[in-house]
Structure formats: structure tokens, C-alpha cells
């Protein structure tokens, strides 16, 4: 497992009131977005886990932007769910890049993202991974997603548990 031996620590997202576990062996990047902010960690093979938040970070807008002139984005699963006790939508998207000659493998990528709101602010929590690495890496990425919790209440909160955020 990728996280074997990792000394996880909790990272608080100031201004959002959420925190999540991060692995110090991976870069932690915080970047501004058009209508929000993204906090992400990148794994060695290009996989990444992220929290996007801000007024422009709705799930529909996120999905509409995926893919490019060489890449097709296809929704392969779309579920209504709850996250931290709040109504949420969880979507899995597959990105298929045209297999043009070049150094990149162009293996299909899966994006799994959950959209919900915290005090009316749209939040997206999810991850990106190569489809052929899913069996190896998915549990680690789910662990990070599952670690998202209201700041200060980390010990009590977890996926599917009641939360005061909603």
C-alpha cells in the first residue's frame, strides 16, 4: 500500500472549517481558482486528491470543464448521497485520451468527486487516479476523502456520520 509507513497529519483549510489527513511524503499545493481555491496532494504516479471550494466550485461547473480536444470525459456513475451529514452527489468520470504517439501512456483516468455545501459554500472533495492503478491506490485515496471532517471535530466525524455542518 502506498501509505505504508506514512506518518499522516491533519491539514486544516482555513476559512472553510474543514480539515483532512495529508501525507507529508507528498506535495501539498494550495492554488487559487476562478471562483475558489483548491488544496491538493499529488502522489508519485500522477494520482491526486483534492478539496475545491468557493462560490464557483459547483459540481456541474466542474464536470462541464473536464476533457479537452484530445480527451473525452464520460460520467460512468452518478449517485445521490450524503457527505458529513449533508446532501451530496458523488460522480465518477472517466477521462479517455486519444492514443496519439508520444511519451505519455494515455491510460484512462478516473475522477471520483463528491459535491456538497458547507454553510452554503460549494465544496468538491475527490481524487484522480489511473484506472489501471485503481486496485492498488484507491483505498489510500478513499482514506483521504474519508478523513475530511469539520475542523475541531475530527475524532467524531467520518463518512456517513451526522454532522453539524449541513
Amino acid at each position: 500500500m502506498i501509505e505504508s509507513g506514512a506518518s499522516w497529519r491533519r491539514h486544516r483549510i482555513a476559512g472553510l472549517g474543514l480539515s483532512f489527513e495529508v501525507n507529508p511524503a507528498w506535495p501539498l499545493d494550495t492554488l487559487p481558482l476562478d471562483g475558489g481555491t483548491i488544496v491538493s496532494q499529488r502522489l508519485p504516479d500522477g494520482a491526486g486528491v483534492f478539496v475545491r471550494y468557493g462560490p464557483g466550485q459547483t459540481l456541474d461547473r466542474f464536470l462541464a470543464a473536464l476533457g479537452d480536444a484530445l480527451t473525452t470525459a464520460t460520467i460512468v456513475r452518478d449517485d445521490v448521497t450524503r457527505f458529513l451529514g449533508a446532501p451530496a452527489r458523488r460522480v465518477t468520470v472517466r477521462l479517455d485520451r486519444r492514443p496519439i504517439p508520444g511519451p505519455s501512456s494515455d491510460r484512462p483516468t478516473l475522477l471520483r468527486v463528491t459535491g456538497f455545501a458547507v454553510h452554503g459554500v460549494p465544496v468538491l472533495v475527490g481524487y484522480r487516479m489511473r484506472e489501471d492503478r485503481a486496485a492498488e491506490i484507491e483505498a489510500t485515496l478513499e482514506r483521504v476523502v474519508g478523513s475530511v471532517a469539520p475542523a475541531g471535530e475530527e475524532a467524531a466525524a467520518g463518512p456517513g456520520e451526522p454532522s453539524p455542518i449541513a
Binding site: 483534492f50 477521462l95 504517439p101 511519451p103
Partner: protein, 845 residues
């Protein structure tokens, strides 16, 4: 008896008769001696021979005559054959005695494959017998009826008159012809018999090591190839790629001659090749040199190989300790020659990788076989070792003689970074290669060590650690890392450290580490309008036919470039610019859901909008995004308007144009091997590793690698310097190659190791070849007369097509490349029509 196809061999490491004997006119002396004998006298002599033995008869007849002439016991009408059945049996018994003597001499031979052969026979219980012509074989025929063994004619069979030995199909026995081919009266010298024994044993050793159970058809071909390859009549032929050879068979004269011998003499091979059974045609066509897991006939290697048989691949974690123990036990007996043979063998490395699936275990098993200690404490402060040029690199020498390597992509080039350097972010990111290089004059000697690299913004990690096995015979190793620029750069720049560590075979023990500190600075911002302005200028420059433009410059160059210019001008290839978007970081984040500093946002054409934009690597210089469509990144820095040089643009175009006209690739399933082969073809034809139309390099070589097969090259990779150089580049820089090769996914490694020359449908970038390819592809079988007339037009018969008739070089491409043969066979299914079109185009039937 068990029977196998005929094969013959003599090892190149020994002096052998360079003129193998053939059936010919009997000598005058022998003919006279034969004519003096009456039938009754002969019958009496035969009786004596059978009771007293030949030497006893010789002594009786010539005891008072000084040096006697030999008894004529061959058929005077065909001296390859014994006079009668009794003579034949007698010959066989004498041959068996001579074989035993020769086998005994091999035990003290200095050459390992010969010395090992005797030991292999003893330890692997290989039975040895004589192979002798029957007396009643048709006189003068090119083939001979042979009988195996020494007792009777049971299990006789017909084979080539020059047959030297047989290896049993069950791989339990060998039958050696120990008398001269041309005259059965003449014994072979012990050394020559020994050579034939070695050849026969090598076939047994090859197939026993290849698989448990019955050998596959291609294994038998390879075993016979091994035997024939070193025969004097083949060994003198060139191993260089020969463009003049047609597409039927390997395209080096040496391998082609061996193929033709096997094809002509083995009906099973001919049938399988002609029908392309199980895809054997491509395997045979690309098999240009011997390879195998026991090329030195070592019983110890066979024992090690057999220790793998007990474990199904991949070995489960629970079974790994037992597997490792079994390998360790069998490897303990290996000698230096055995270990060198393993090191040189692609098949061995593939076998190990099949059994263990991660780099740590692979390294561990390799180290166990090599007898290398694992996880030992590093030597305290190793001092520079005394120069010993001939000795293999030791671990201490490795640790005392390496330096870190750091390079970053500037968008248009790769810049080497040393401590204290300043670099600029490109597209909000740094794309880097970080690794280690040996600084002595010696490459790695097979030491199993890993290089691990990461980038720190002290104390935080900003590019996560990646590791790479140091190549067994390589001098450097590196990994690709990417750093995301922070939202706000600190004053004075972003202080970064590239850290490189050397790890032991367990991939955990850090033996040494070194840091390179440098500063990354912000890049200039630019607008969408600026990017579009640069793109418009680039497109105009590409299509400019004046002496200053790209088309104009191509037209002033060699034939390959002229053909490219013609294809661009006639719209057979569409070339467009690709330029970085002004909002690259945001674009990548939007398209991929999260940041990816290894990527940049580009647009193609002259309009920066989402419909024409895509994500690709920072260091991309050009892309073929569809059949006949090329994008070239001429603008390397939008704010400054910096451009790639025209020479570089042309280099990119020549490379990408091979992809653009590589129809078989675009019609493939895009498997890793399809992708590898199109890259191989492109790198070969762009001249990066040598003139594409020349196998031998000019002097000075200037980076050229000869296109000559060399079986002595170490593994891994294809064994030709030019093919190896292309392979290494792809293995290191193309992310799908290493996993597919290391895991031999869908036979990827098998194919790559044999792919030493390019085979393609339009390596010449010819508009005419593309038109002809399309014409054949579109044939629907309804009007063959009109179709053939159109095809013939390309050859200069009848009305010429719009772009003219094929040139001599273009016709040679059709004749020499298997892709054209496949193309005609796929699109002209009617056998008669297919044969006609092949004949019209000069394609081998």
C-alpha cells in the same frame, strides 16, 4: 527413435573446417580399389569385418604391406552411402565409438559451451548415438535415408544430404553423423565430431530451458537457428540491416540465409510461415540473432532454470520465501560463465520478471543469482578505488564515483542544473529529470542498486519521491519529477533542493545521498492575443515555400525532406502550430480536475479556445494528433517570442511525419507494442541515431549507432546498437514502455527485443505511397481490372496517377517492408488477384 528436424552446427569459438564436405566424385585411388574386388571377395571381407571388426580386417589384409590403402567400403556410385547394410551397421558402431571419444575430449575444452556440453550430456542424461546413411538410399539424390543408432534400420528417415546431427523432438537424445558427408569411408576428426555434438546438445539445452513440457513451434525454430547461425557457411555473412532484402524473412544477410535454410528444409516451418500460423511470420522475420536461456549448455543453468518450473508465475507472496530459497540453492553452483550468460540473456531477465512482479523482488532475485549480498551496511566512507580498468565495477567504486544529475525543461529545450543555478517556471510548473550518473569510466557491472529522487522546499516535499533500478550495464538513471509553482513566489525566488539517494537491492537501505540546491523564478505572464499572434506567425512560416520558410528549406534538403515538403504542399500532411495557453495552470486544473505540474495547456491552430485546446507535457516539441495531422510547438516562450530553430522544426516534422503517415498504427488497437513500433520507426527515420538508409556509420560517427546485429551485447533490449539506443530512449522517457517491457505484457518484451529494424508502410513520407496505400485499402473486390490498372499506373505501366509514378526508392519500400505484404493480403482477399497485385508490386509471394 524420437525425431526432430535436421539441424547442424559448429561453434564459432573453435577452429572448424570452413569448407564442409559435400558429396562429389570419388577419388581415383578409391575407385580403382573398389573395381579390383570381386563380389565374392567382398562378401568374405564383409563377413570378417562383422566378426573381427574393421581394424582387425585391416591388420590381416595389410600386415605386410607397410602403409595400407583404406578398404573401400562406400558405394562407388555414391560415396556418401555404405556399400551394403552390414557396412552401414559397422560404420554406425565405429561412429558411436568415435562420438564417445570426442565427447570425452570435450570435458577439458577451454570454451564453456563445449566443456559444458559434455557435462550436460552426463548430468542431464542425454543419450548419444550415431547417425548414418543407409546403403539403399537413392544414389545421387540431394536427400539421404538415414538410420539412427547402431543396431538396425529401425526408424530410418529422409533428410538433407549435408545433415550433421539430429536432436530428438523429446529432447532426450542426440544423433551425430561422425563420418564425412562426401565419403562415408572417411572419419571426421574428433574436433569436428565434437563440434557436431555441441551443436546437437545446444538444441537440447535451448529447448529444455525454454519451457517445461513439449517445445512450441517457434522454440524449435529458434533452437535450429541457434545451431545453424554459427556454421561457417552462415557465420561469414553480414549482420547489418540490408534494405535491398525483400520482406520475406529477416533483413540481415546472416539471419536471412539461416531462415532460408530452415524454410527450405523443414516443411512444418514453411507451412506455418506461409499460413502465418499463430503470428509466426513476424516472429521469424524479426528473429535476427540467437537468444536463449542456456546458450552455453550448462547443466547448472538448466538446474537453475528447472528450479523455476516448480513455481507458477507470478509467484504468490506466500510462496516467495520458498521460491527465493529454491533459486538461491540452485544458483549456488553457478560459475562465472553461467552468471555472465544470465546477464547477457533477455530471456533470463524476462523469466525473472514473470515470476516476481515488483522491482524490489526482481532486484532481490537478480542479486541472489548474482551472489550479491543484500542490505549489508554501506562501507564506511569509501575511498576512491585504485583504477582497475578491466575489473567490473564494485559496489564501493559505485558509491565512491557517482554524482547527482538534474535537468529542467525550459519549454523548448532541456537545461542542465547545477548547485546554485536559477531556472524559470514554465506554465506554472517545473518539469525535471533527476537522477545519478557514474563518474568513473566503468558502467554498472550488474549491481542491483536503485536511484531515488525527490524535490524539497525545505522541509516540505514538493515533488514526491520516485525510484528507478540502476540499469545493469548502464551509466546513469533518472526519474521524471514535477514541481507546482506556489501561488505566491517568495522574494528572491523559490528555493528548492533536488535530493538523490542510492538504495540497496532491498530498495530501503540508503547507501548514499547527495543534494543539488537551486532557485526557481517566476515566468512572465502573457495574453491570449499574444499567443494567437505567435501561432499565426508559426503557421505562415511552416507553409512558406520561399528559401526562408520551412517548406522552402525542406525542398533544398535531401530526398526524405523533399518528399515531406511535397506531402505538406499537396495536403497529404497537415501541419499546424501548437502554442501554450495564456492560462495554462488554470486550464490544466480544470481539464484534469486538479493540478498536474507535468502538464501544460496548449491550443492548436491559431485560435486559443477550448475547442482547439488540450493538455500535454511541458517538454513536448510536436504531436501527431491524428492520421496525416501534425502539430509543432515552434514558439517555446510566448512572452519573448522565442522560437525553436528551423533545424529543430524540421527534425520534429520528419519524426512526426512518420507517425502521420503510419496508417497501420492508426488502424491498430493502440497497444503498447503498436505505440513502441511507431516510435521506433519515427526515431529511426528522423536520423537521431544514424542515417536511416545506412547500416554502417560514417567517420566520425557523430552519435550514429550502427544498425548491425550483435548477439554479444548484454541484456536488456534489442541487440543492435541503433535499435538499442532507440529502445533505451523509449524505455527511459516513454512511460508505458518500462512497465510493458519489464512485465512482458502481451509479449511486448519478446517483440521489442527482436525489433531491430523498422518495418512500415510509408517510412519515406511519400505522397505517392500514401495514394497507393489508400487505393489498395479502398478496393472493394468488384472491378479488379480497373483496380489493377490503377495499381500498375504507380509502377509506370499505363496512365500515371496524379502525383506520378513511384520512384525506385518508393518501389523498394514496397518490396522490402512486410507491412506492404500484409496490406495487400488484408485488402485483396482473392488468392489469384492477391498474387497478381503482389507480382505487379514486386512483393514476395
Amino acid at each position: 527413435m524420437e525425431r526432430a528436424a535436421q539441424s547442424s552446427t559448429r561453434r564459432r569459438t573453435r577452429s572448424v573446417d570452413p569448407h564442409p564436405h559435400r558429396a562429389g566424385t570419388p577419388s581415383a585411388t578409391q575407385t580403382e580399389a573398389a573395381s579390383d574386388r570381386t563380389h565374392g571377395a567382398r562378401a568374405g571381407i564383409v563377413f570378417l569385418q562383422q566378426t573381427l571388426g574393421n581394424r582387425g580386417v585391416q591388420r590381416l589384409l595389410f600386415s605386410a604391406a607397410g602403409s595400407p590403402p583404406p578398404i573401400q567400403r562406400a558405394n562407388p556410385l555414391d560415396q556418401r552411402l555404405p556399400m551394403d547394410r552390414a557396412e552401414a551397421i559397422s560404420f554406425a558402431r565405429q561412429a558411436k565409438a568415435d562420438i564417445d571419444v570426442a565427447l570425452a575430449t570435450l570435458t577439458a575444452d577451454p570454451e564453456p559451451e563445449r566443456r559444458n556440453a559434455a557435462e550436460f550430456v552426463a548430468k542431464e542424461k542425454v543419450v548419444t548415438h550415431a547417425l548414418t546413411p543407409r546403403h539403399d538410399s537413392p544414389i545421387g539424390a540431394p536427400t539421404i535415408r538415414f538410420f539412427p543408432g547402431e543396431n538396425d534400420y529401425t526408424e530410418s528417415f529422409t533428410a538433407d544430404g549435408a545433415s550433421t546431427h539430429f536432436a530428438g523432438s523429446r529432447r532426450k537424445g542426440i544423433w551425430v553423423r561422425a563420418r564425412q558427408d562426401a565419403n562415408v569411408d572417411e572419419p571426421l576428426a574428433a574436433d569436428e565430431i565434437a563440434g557436431r555434438i555441441v551443436g546437437a546438445v545446444s538444441e537440447i539445452a535451448f529447448t529444455r530451458a525454454a519451457h517445461p513440457g513439449a517445445p512450441a513451434a517457434f522454440d524449435l525454430y529458434r533452437a535450429r537457428f541457434e545451431g545453424l547461425y554459427f556454421l561457417p557457411e552462415f557465420f561469414g555473412k553480414s549482420d547489418a540491416f540490408d534494405r535491398s532484402l525483400d520482406g520475406k524473412g529477416p533483413r540481415t544477410p546472416h539471419a536471412r540465409a539461416v531462415f532460408e535454410r530452415i524454410y527450405a528444409g523443414d516443411p512444418a516451418v514453411k507451412k506455418a510461415y506461409d499460413a502465418d500460423t499463430a503470428g509466426i511470420r513476424e516472429k521469424i522475420d524479426t528473429y535476427t540473432m540467437p537468444e536463449g536461456m542456456n546458450r552455453i549448455n550448462s547443466p547448472r543453468l538448466q538446474k537453475l532454470r528447472a528450479s523455476f518450473f516448480a513455481f507458477s508465475a507470478p509467484v504468490a507472496d506466500a510462496a516467495y520465501p520458498a521460491f527465493k530459497s529454491a533459486i538461491k540453492g540452485a544458483a549456488a553452483a553457478l560459475d562465472d560463465d553461467d552468471r555472465k550468460a544470465i546477464d547477457a540473456s533477455n530471456d533470463w531477465q524476462r523469466l525473472i520478471n514473470e515470476h516476481v512482479e515488483d522491482d524490489e523482488k526482481r532486484g532481490e532475485i537478480r542479486a541472489v543469482i548474482a551472489g550479491q549480498a543484500i542490505g549489508a551496511a554501506p562501507a564506511p566512507a569509501p575511498a576512491p578505488a585504485a583504477p582497475k580498468p578491466a575489473a567490473p565495477l564494485t559496489r564501493d567504486e559505485f558509491l565512491a564515483g557517482w554524482e547527482p544529475t538534474v535537468a529542467v525543461s525550459s519549454g523548448g529545450a532541456t537545461e542542465v542544473v547545477v548547485a546554485g543555478d536559477k531556472v524559470k517556471y514554465v506554465g506554472g510548473a517545473l518539469l525535471m529529470r533527476v537522477g545519478a550518473v557514474l563518474t568513473g569510466d566503468k558502467p554498472n557491472s550488474g549491481l542491483v542498486l536503485f536511484v531515488r529522487a525527490q524535490v524539497l522546499r525545505d522541509p516540505d516535499v514538493v515533488a514526491p519521491a520516485k525510484s528507478e533500478l540502476f540499469p545493469a550495464r548502464g551509466e546513469d538513471a533518472s526519474v521524471q519529477l514535477a514541481v507546482q509553482a506556489p501561488a505566491v513566489l517568495p522574494a528572491g525566488g523559490d528555493k528548492l533542493t533536488a535530493r538523490v539517494e542510492i538504495l540497496d537491492a532491498d530498495k530501503a537501505t540508503v547507501l548514499d545521498h547527495k543534494d543539488v540546491a537551486f532557485t526557481a523564478e517566476a515566468e512572465a505572464v502573457f495574453t491570449k492575443e499574444k499567443a494567437e499572434t505567435e501561432a499565426t506567425a508559426d503557421l505562415a512560416h511552416f507553409l512558406d515555400a520561399s528559401p526562408a520558410g520551412i517548406v522552402g528549406k525542406l525542398n533544398a534538403m535531401g530526398p526524405q525532406e523533399k518528399r515531406l515538403a511535397e506531402a505538406m504542399s499537396k495536403g497529404v500532411i497537415d501541419v499546424q502550430p501548437m502554442v501554450m495557453r495564456h492560462d495554462s495552470v488554470a486550464f490544466v486544473t480544470a481539464k484534469k480536475g486538479a493540478p498536474d505540474p507535468s502538464s501544460v495547456g496548449y491550443f492548436k491552430g491559431t485560435t486559443e479556445d477550448d475547442a482547439h485546446s488540450f493538455v500535454d507535457h511541458t517538454n513536448t516539441r510536436g504531436v501527431t494528433d491524428d492520421f496525416q495531422k501534425i502539430l509543432v510547438k515552434r514558439t517555446t516562450d510566448v512572452p519573448s517570442g522565442a522560437k525553436m530553430s528551423d533545424d529543430d522544426v524540421i527534425e520534429v516534422l520528419v519524426h512526426e511525419a512518420v507517425h502521420a503517415l503510419d496508417a497501420p498504427y492508426w488502424q491498430s488497437s493502440f497497444d503498447p507494442i503498436d505505440r513502441y513500433k511507431t516510435e521506433f520507426r519515427a526515431y529511426w527515420m528522423d536520423g537521431s541515431f544514424g542515417p536511416p538508409d545506412k547500416a554502417i556509420c560514417p567517420v566520425p560517427a557523430k552519435g550514429c549507432k550502427p544498425a548491425v546485429v550483435d548477439p554479444t551485447m548484454p541484456a536488456p533490449g534489442p541487440k543492435s546498437p541503433r535499435a538499442r539506443a532507440i529502445f533505451q530512449h523509449l524505455y527511459e522517457d516513454y512511460d508505458y514502455v518500462k512497465p510493458a517491457y519489464d512485465d512482458n505484457k502481451d509479449g511486448f518484451r519478446d517483440a521489442v527485443d527482436q525489433y531491430v529494424v523498422p518495418d512500415g508502410i510509408n517510412l519515406l513520407l511519400s505522397a505517392r505511397l500514401e495514394r497507393l496505400r489508400k487505393l489498395i485499402e479502398d478496393y472493394d473486390g468488384t472491378d479488379f481490372v480497373a483496380f489493377r490498372e490503377a495499381v500498375l499506373g504507380f509502377t509506370g505501366v499505363g496512365p500515371a496517377p496524379v502525383d506520378g509514378v513511384l520512384t525506385a526508392d518508393e518501389r523498394a519500400q514496397i518490396v522490402g517492408n512486410r507491412a506492404w505484404r500484409d496490406h495487400v493480403e488484408a485488402n485483396v482477399p482473392n488468392a489469384g488477384q492477391q498474387k497478381t497485385i503482389k507480382h505487379d508490386l514486386g512483393i514476395a509471394l
